[in-house]
């Protein structure tokens, strides 16, 4: 290919890349045609990835902090170190955390999940522990007096009564993880953060509106689901004095 050699030294051929619709080119506030064209390829996968990121992070974070809170409830000594650890993790900016993790866990979802899990620990641990400790002393006294063992007191009295505090923690953790999970895009093109960061850099309004809007919507829906779940699990907390 003689042309190739020539071209390599001179000016390249610039092909026609195709044009965007007027709405897209003029970057109007919202272009339905762009959403239609990119829903299946960009938006929907990003949304599902985002849901996955958040669900996994909060689930693992919850299990870890729940276990830690149970231990700290039993052995007070554990509280301070775990609080300190989770507080330090909480204050590390995500980019710095990624710097630390990438050499080990790579440019992967694992890296992102470790960071996201780390950020949920503080709030979930504190709330679960506060919840366990919020049980009124007379209730514990009654439980003991009636012959509940320590384990029965924990599972049948302290934990059920800690549920509202745990849910308060979960709500904060879920909503903040939905926001935080956008930083996943700094490591891999994954989740709603990918289209959002992209759109912010290009100042492309439709994408910001759609991806940002979906993140907000997801937070609202998740919060509503949690509130509903809590209502269902703790009918006693919403029961008020009858007239």
């Amino acid at each position: 290919m003689s042309g190739g050699l020539l071209l390599a030294q001179g000016e390249p051929i610039i092909p026609d890349f195709g044009e965007g619709s007027d709405c897209v080119v003029e970057n109007r506030f919202f272009c339905p045609d762009w959403v239609r064209d990119n829903w299946a390829g960009v938006i929907q996968p990003a949304l599902l990835q985002h849901v996955k990121l958040v669900v996994i992070a909060v689930a693992i974070g919850f299990v870890l902090s729940f276990a830690a809170a149970l231990v700290a409830h039993r052995y007070r000594l554990v509280e301070a170190p775990f609080t300190a650890f989770s507080a330090v993790v909480y204050t590390i900016p995500s980019l710095a955390l990624f710097q630390l993790l990438v050499p080990v866990t790579g440019l992967t979802v694992t890296t992102v999940e470790i960071a996201l899990v780390g950020y949920t620990l503080l709030i979930l641990f504190r709330n679960t522990l506060e919840g366990l400790r919020s049980v009124p002393p007379d209730v514990l006294e009654a439980a003991r007096g009636m012959g509940y063992t320590r384990g029965q007191t924990l599972w049948r009295v302290e934990l059920p009564l800690a549920v509202p505090a745990m849910f308060a923690g979960l709500r904060v953790a879920v909503v903040s993880t939905i926001a935080l999970a956008t930083v996943a895009a700094l490591v891999i093109p994954y989740g709603l953060g990918y289209p959002i960061f992209l759109a912010l850099r290009e100042a492309f309004k439709t994408e910001i509106v759609v991806a940002g809007g979906l993140a907000v919507l997801m937070a609202l829906v998740a919060d509503a689901l949690l509130v509903a779940a809590q209502r269902a699990l703790t009918p006693w907390a919403s029961a008020r004095r009858l007239a």
Binding site: P136, V139, E141, A142, G145, G147, V157, W236, A239
Partner: protein, 319 residues
Amino acid sequence: MSGAAAEIVFDRVTKRYPGRAEAAVSDLSLTVPAGEICCLVGPSGAGKTTAMKLVNRLIDFEEGDITIGGESVRSLDLTELRRGIGYVIQQVGLFPHMTVAENISTVPRLRGWEKGRTRLRVDELLDLVDLPAEDYRARFPSQLSGGERQRVGLARALAADPPAMLMDEPFGALDPITRARLQHELLRIQGAVRKTIIFVTHDIDEAILLADRIAILREGGVLAQYDTPARILEHPADDFVERFIGSDRGIKLLSLRRLDELELAPLDGAIDLRASGDTTMRDALSQMITHGSRSLVVVDSEGQPRGVVTLDALAALAE
């Protein structure tokens, strides 16, 4: 350990809290006969609560022994011991996340009763404490008044039909009217179930009303006197007891006796004031004074006059 009432015996029990010079309970010996109510009274800090909690070992002790129905509390499994003793406290301590029915069935569930039996028992107990089961079964504690909570607390303590009950100032936080009503209800229930009850109070009037025997403790958990209310009022053991029961012990004594016990004078002339034979002498005296009358007609259950009691006769008894 369920069903029939059991005798509770304190045998030279001493309790010292770690790091405290004075004992909270000192060398306490007393016997509460089966089916009786023993009121522990005394000034604040005298060790009433401590003495009571030694029985179900919510507080542990080293010196002396306590037996229930002849068995040392120390020989029994801790949870079994507690499940066998009804426990009622002032703050009630109902489980906020459980309905009234679930609260009451706590111990039956711990003991593995079957559901049907438990459900029947709950309804029976709600009936006993005068809360219509239909209306109250499914409520949460937050939907009850203070008095209703205490009734549920009582029902919960009675649920597995324990031979003994411990009650720590159960009515202390209630208004006087509710308190009086619950006191009478407790007596009514006790008439039906006959438990051995250790009842802590620092209200001597409550003790006189409820107790078969009163144990008066002084600071350091020393037993000052243990006897029936009447004998304590008639023969206080020392100055401390005399001061503790108050200068009006004559009148208090009258509250232990009923008009039935008196020889009545024959009816003469028209007297407005009437009272039934089971009215306490103290109440009769109080009525006469309030109404400015020097005598009162005692009527029988049909309302027929049986005779007359005079102010002078009552005053003579109170001396």
